[in-house]
Amino acid sequence: MEQLLKLLSEICPGIDFEKETALIDDGLLESLDIVTIVGEIMDEFDVELNVDDLLPENFNSAQAIMDLINSRRS
């Protein structure tokens, strides 16, 4: 999780990823951010994500993103 939080903070500084739970619903993350985050995640965590994973509920919080990564690892 720490690795993910570090990655997210580097891409989008100024957002409290530990607390925010509505990153998409509140418009904190834009489409450009999401694509960058997905690209970095695929590199860092060596998982395959695709366009079907780009649902708001998968990106609304750091925990949701972590769950998505874990579901792709298993």
Binding site: E30, L32, T36, V38, D43, N50, V51, L54
Partner: protein, 514 residues
């Protein structure tokens, strides 16, 4: 049948009465008949396009639904079977997209292609039916969603036909999503006086924008752009400014009428505008202007492209070999440029529209690349980014960039647009503001005053909304006399000041030709 015609008002009233009179389970049939009747008045020939798109996307949805079911039934170990189904699904989507966009291409761009190749245009000219690209994009979005397995496909062809043709939005959008719109269309809404009242108020707001402001502003824009060589700086600037006012009030006014009429039937149609004048950056502007087209491009072009294998591979390579921000944004920038190229060419197959797309793509990519530098300078200059003054600066900067782009979309060629920009800057001739030249652009002093007062009302309302206010809900809290006045005073304003009456026919909406 134009939204601004008396026939349309009678048509909507009749449809409303019939809709709420028939039993709830048949109400969607009333909407379908009304929608086909409405579209038929635009020309019988146009029905062919509507039917073609409806049938092809309906069938594609059904086939994709069956393939999704088949895929679910296969064991995870049957890799070959799963792969076969996936390949088949891709083929179905590909054929549907080719068929639909091929039709759009033939209608919209074939003539230009012949021109570019230096060949004479063919004798048979296909007429562009009203709103073709709007309902096509909506239907194609549905097919891609079926491919992604977002929902089971609609089995009832007539219900699907209503989703494609729903009359308030068939000519100029918004581009709705099946999951949001279709259930509302078919469930048979109960009569709700509040919904009818809200809908009427919203539609009237749209008529106010279109008939009181836009059609007047359009007169000045047409005069200036029509005889641009006679004018210099300030007048050219005024021409573009009035064009911006015309375009915004025309398109957003039309959408307000659409959403208002739909609301009278208890249907909530997607927002397409969110006060673009208050945008703080170009990216923000595109989130507020023609929202549903932007979202369509994001979900069906930008995301799939950015995450496609070639672009993700390229991204990995550039991150390793190009240091800094540039290395990170190469794939998204390619997808961004593609999106703005498509938005540009969607407006028309001319160089000026393509340049308009690139103008947006370049600025958005540049702002990403320079973000670090901007942050540095903001700190050095001790700028308080949360201050109102900074917000105002951002709004003016964004509007100026959009304003420059508008020279391209309204001038008859890139050369004309560049000449006009040059003249605006190099030869301002500010005296035109007081020597009477402004009164020789098609509108007298009184008419100009109406445009300015109309804009003042519009901006006041938008300012109130931007800071969280809700005009119609706030009215609810007032005395009943105020509520009635809020309906009849604008109605009187539209009738007295609206550009209509006599032999005059209000011009059609700009975006319905797309």
């Amino acid at each position: 049948m134009s939204f601004t015609s008396g026939t349309f008002i009678v048509f909507v009233l009749t449809a409303l009465v019939v809709y709420y009179l028939v039993p709830q389970r048949f109400r969607w049939v009333v909407l379908l008949l009304a929608s086909y009747g409405f579209y038929f008045t635009g020309g019988a020939g146009a029905m062919g396009y509507l039917l073609f798109i409806t049938l092809t996307t309906y069938l594609a949805g059904r086939v994709l639904g069956a393939l999704n079911e088949k895929r679910k039934g296969l064991p995870a170990t049957d890799k070959a079977g799963l792969e076969r189904v996936k390949r088949r699904k891709k083929q179905v989507v590909l054929v549907t997209l080719l068929g639909n966009f091929g039709l759009l291409y033939a209608v919209k761009y074939l003539g230009v292609t012949f021109d570019l190749l230096g060949l004479p245009r063919p004798g048979l000219v296909l007429v562009l039916p009203l709103g073709l690209s709007f309902y096509m994009f909506q239907s194609v979005g549905y097919v891609i969603d079926c491919y992604r397995g977002k929902f089971p496909p609609e089995k009832n062809l007539a219900k699907f036909a209503l989703f494609v043709s729903f009359f308030p939005q068939v000519v100029q959008g918004p581009i709705s999503r099946f999951g949001d719109l279709a259930p509302q269309l078919t469930k048979g809404n109960e009569f709700d006086a509040d919904q009818v009242k809200y809908g009427t108020q919203l539609a009237m707001w749209g008529y106010f924008k279109k008939l009181v402001i836009s059609d007047r502003a359009g007169v000045v824009a047409a005069t200036v752009f029509g005889g641009f060589t006679q004018y210099r700086g300030t007048v050219l600037f005024a021409g573009v400014l009035f064009y911006c006012i015309q375009l915004y009030c025309d398109f957003s006014g039309g959408i307000d009428i659409t959403r208002g009429v739909a609301q009278m039937f208890g249907i909530d149609v997607a927002e397409n505008f969110c006060r673009p004048l208050f945008a703080v950056s170009l990216t923000d502007y595109w989130r507020r202007w023609h929202i549903t087209l932007g979202q369509w491009m994001r979900d069906y072009v930008f995301y799939p492209m950015s995450l496609s294998r070639p672009l993700t591979q390229l991204g990995k390579w550039t991150r390793r070999h190009i240091k800094g921000k540039l290395g990170k944004i190469v794939p998204t920038s390619i997808a961004t440029f593609t999106v703005y190229f498509l938005i540009g060419i969607w407006h028309g197959a001319e160089l000026r529209y393509i340049l308009f797309g690139f103008w947006n793509g370049i600025l958005i990519t540049a702002s990403l690349l320079l973000e670090g530098k901007f942050q540095y300078w903001r700190k050095r200059l001790h700028i308080r980014t949360e201050s109102l003054l900074w917000r105002l600066f951002q709004m003016i900067r964004t509007s100026a960039l959009v304003f420059l782009g508008r020279y391209l979309t309204r001038a008859d060629s890139v050369r004309t647009a560049l000449w006009m920009i040059k003249m605006t800057v190099l030869d301002p001739e500010i005296a035109a503001l007081w020597d009477g030249r402004m009164l020789a652009l098609g509108l007298n002093g009184w008419e100009l005053m109406i445009v300015f007062l109309g804009m003042a009302v519009l901006l006041t309302a938008e300012c109130y909304q931007e800071f969280g206010g809700h005009v119609r809900k706030a009215l609810e809290q007032r005395h009943w006399l105020v509520q009635w006045a809020a309906i009849f005073i604008p109605l009187a304003v539209i009738f007295v000041l609206g550009v209509m009456g006599g032999d005059y026919i209000a011009p059609g909406f700009i975006y319905q030709q797309y």
